[in-house]
Subunit: 259 residues, 2 copies
């Protein structure tokens, strides 16, 4: 079982994910995700570091092949920059017997959906999700994708925006986006959405400060059509209209349109 | 309350969504979504057609402004091509009093996550979501976004792929994608993921047939790096590796790269 625990609030864990956790014998995962679980006496945890996805997947597959009920947990959804792809890679490289295992992926609420929900509907039109980590891909590719997506009018959700080992990438990403998008484009910083320690900040692109993010933040950068609706309580609604006119891919705004 | 019910299986409805439905007095939504709910004696349904999002949002806001506990339900996640954006539009256009309402969006598992989970991890790397409906945007814009996203190496999830009123758009989309992506690119058709009437089909792009889709299908088109892992039970795993090399945006494959 490869299980998504959602963004953190227990009210956002699906019943099938909770049941899969309850029935597992061995639970594998990044320690902060395992720390969210209340386990029974017959259950054992196998925490590992967040850079060890492939070896964690292999350990879980080996346990399953030995007949144990093994469960890998991810925050959010396991298919979005998380463990499901690592398990598939391990199956492809591993012994033939692993291909015959009964593998199930249980989806979850991924961070961008939870952050979007807290502010309105910034993902209300076409959007994309990009990991800013250049541990697994070359940085110039990240920049080309940012430019292509912004130029084509997609709203952009940024995962893994910053860490101690990757301090400058988010600032560079904002610079690349500012070359294509209006300075007034709304940017939402969302951390721990739905949890007690939630932090939500809304800025314009020209004032978007990388210091507002840490490695647990998901950032949503609007399209040129994303709007703010002021409200008396002080936090505006942020939404991207369902309608798009011709030229909504920013071609007319001097951006680097793609076609 | 604007609530996401997930793709359809009751095990994929979050506890907070179920609680919000249970506490509502008036429930608004597209009839097939309302039909999923078991309501109590004090609760009333207000079904409407799937083309009437804005008037449905206005009706729910008017009820809330009159002091009723109103709940709008969406399938999947309400922020992804669904009701949350329609409510924000209605608030922006509507009377000032609507801006002061206590509006909450409760996220859900959106279709692409549920479909991806059933086949492995096709969204394992950067991806985007595009609605193929040209009711709300001009078709040439859809084509430009498809070309930009495929050329930049994104996996692409297609929502609203086909309907009686929009019969040719999906075939045209596959043609545009085939001009950029290898013929062998995996394509996943997923309908009613996780439900009893689930239908999943995996094809290569050259054999992707629009007849495999209906309006309730979500389609995931891989990147040039998306892989199939054969399994003895006959259904392969489909996944996109977490690693991407330089040139992974398809520039070397003759595609229309964007930068």
């Amino acid at each position: 079982m490869i299980v998504g625990l959602g963004p953190g609030a227990t009210g956002q864990v699906t019943p099938e994910a909770a049941a899969a956790v309850a029935e597992a014998e061995l639970l594998f995962g990044y320690k902060p995700y395992l720390d969210r679980l209340t386990l029974g006496p017959g259950q054992r945890r196998q925490p590992s570091d967040n850079r060890e996805e492939l070896s964690r997947a292999e350990a879980a597959l080996a346990a399953a092949a030995a007949g144990r009920r093994a469960c890998l947990v991810s925050g959010g959804d396991p298919g979005v920059f998380a463990m499901a792809a690592a398990v598939c890679e391990a199956v492809e490289r591993g012994p033939d017997a692993w291909r015959a295992l009964d593998i199930a992926v249980l989806p979850g609420v991924t961070a961008m959906l939870a952050v979007a929900a807290r502010v309105g509907a910034p993902l209300g039109h076409d959007f994309c999700a990009i990991s800013l980590s250049d541990n697994l891909k070359p940085w110039p590719l990240v920049e080309r994708r940012l430019t292509a997506a912004a130029g084509a009018g997609f709203v952009i959700a940024l995962y893994n925006p910053i860490s101690r080992a990757r301090p400058w990438q988010l600032g560079r990403a904002f610079e690349r986006l500012a070359a294509v998008l209006p300075a007034s484009t709304p940017v939402v910083f969302g951390r721990a959405a739905g949890r007690l320690d939630e932090r939500i900040a809304i800025r314009r692109l020209a004032e978007a400060d990388p210091a507002l993010a840490d490695m647990a933040t998901c950032i949503i950068v609007g399209s040129p059509h994303t709007r703010l609706v002021d409200r008396p309580d002080g936090q505006p609604l942020v939404y991207t209209p369902r309608f798009a006119a011709a030229g909504a891919d920013n071609a007319a705004a001097g951006g680097e349109a793609s076609a």
